[in-house]
């Protein structure tokens, strides 16, 4: 089980959280100019890297807040936890 440090509640067990999948997926727009390809990519296709990954997590059983996690999908090491709306500089973690 992962021990994830919620930015508000501190370290809590993985079962208190829900993983929201890949972080920083942006809705393409303006909507009338988006190709089917770009729209399908936005709706259905996600990165599935072996190694460093950025994910959204929700502390559903605790404070109910969303946040971002930089996690290594091989070692499960969590390199950083950072608020929604922020990005990590490339190469700064994971």
């Amino acid at each position: 089980m992962l021990l994830i440090t919620c930015p508000h509640c501190g370290p809590r067990a993985e079962i208190e959280y829900r993983c929201g999948g890949e972080a920083h997926v942006e809705r393409p727009g303006p909507h009338d100019q988006v190709s089917d390809q770009a729209w399908a990519d936005y709706l259905f296709y996600r990165a599935n890297p072996k190694g460093g990954h950025r994910e959204r997590w929700l502390h559903v059983a605790g404070c109910g807040q969303w946040f971002n996690v930089a996690r290594d999908t091989i070692t499960h090491e969590i390199a950083a936890v950072y608020p929604m709306g922020e990005t990590l500089a490339e190469g700064s973690a994971a």
Binding site: C9, P11, R12, A13, I15, E16, G62, C63
Partner: protein
């Protein structure tokens, strides 16, 4: 219960959960506990809390007492208020009377069931179903948190110890009270 208060006059219809008393562990249903939630929207929620409640808000993951009431931090901008049923109802009424549109105070005493757990085995009984670290370093008296109890959610606060044994108040959905009772009966 104050007889004049219509909220307090609502009959509790929750299932009766038998108290568990055995060496090292007692689990008792806490009757007459008022439970309310305060939500404040906006970035300056803590300052607004101070304006409304007249006290500094509790730190994250902590519960503080003020008069007859206890205020526990649940999330940024969200607090749980517990105390005597009439006192909580009166507090909620006062907060609602402000008429402000950036806050929401709701008395949901009758939607929740509270238990008092105490004894040397209280931590072990909780640890069987709750993923929190309840040892004193991580969860001293005055700590409060929302977490899981088996398949349901719980609010837990550590009250002042009785002697050497820890004492916890846990609050679960009223519909899950019988389930929580069964978990402790087997723990």
């Amino acid at each position: 219960m104050a007889d004049s208060n219509p909220t307090a006059l609502l009959r509790r219809t929750g299932p009766d959960v038998a108290d568990i008393v055995r060496p090292g562990l007692s689990v008792r249903t806490e009757t007459g506990l008022g439970i309310a939630k305060l939500r404040i929207f906006g970035r300056a929620a803590d300052a607004r809390f101070q304006e409304i409640a007249g006290i500094a808000p509790p730190l994250p993951c902590r519960e503080i007492g003020s008069g007859d009431l206890a205020f526990a931090w649940l999330a940024p901008g969200e607090w749980l208020i517990t105390g005597a049923e009439a006192a909580v109802a009166a507090w909620v009424e006062r907060a609602t009377a402000l008429g402000a549109d950036d806050l929401l105070a709701i008395d949901f005493s009758h939607a929740r069931t509270a238990f008092l757990l105490e004894g040397e085995s209280a931590r072990a009984a909780l640890a069987a179903h709750c993923p929190l670290d309840l040892w004193p370093d991580a969860f001293p008296a005055g700590a409060a948190a929302r977490s899981l109890l088996g398949d349901t959610g719980l609010f837990i606060a550590r009250l002042a110890d009785t002697g050497d044994a820890p004492r916890f108040r846990i609050i679960v959905d009223q519909t899950m009270a019988a389930y929580a009772g069964r978990l402790f009966a087997r723990a």
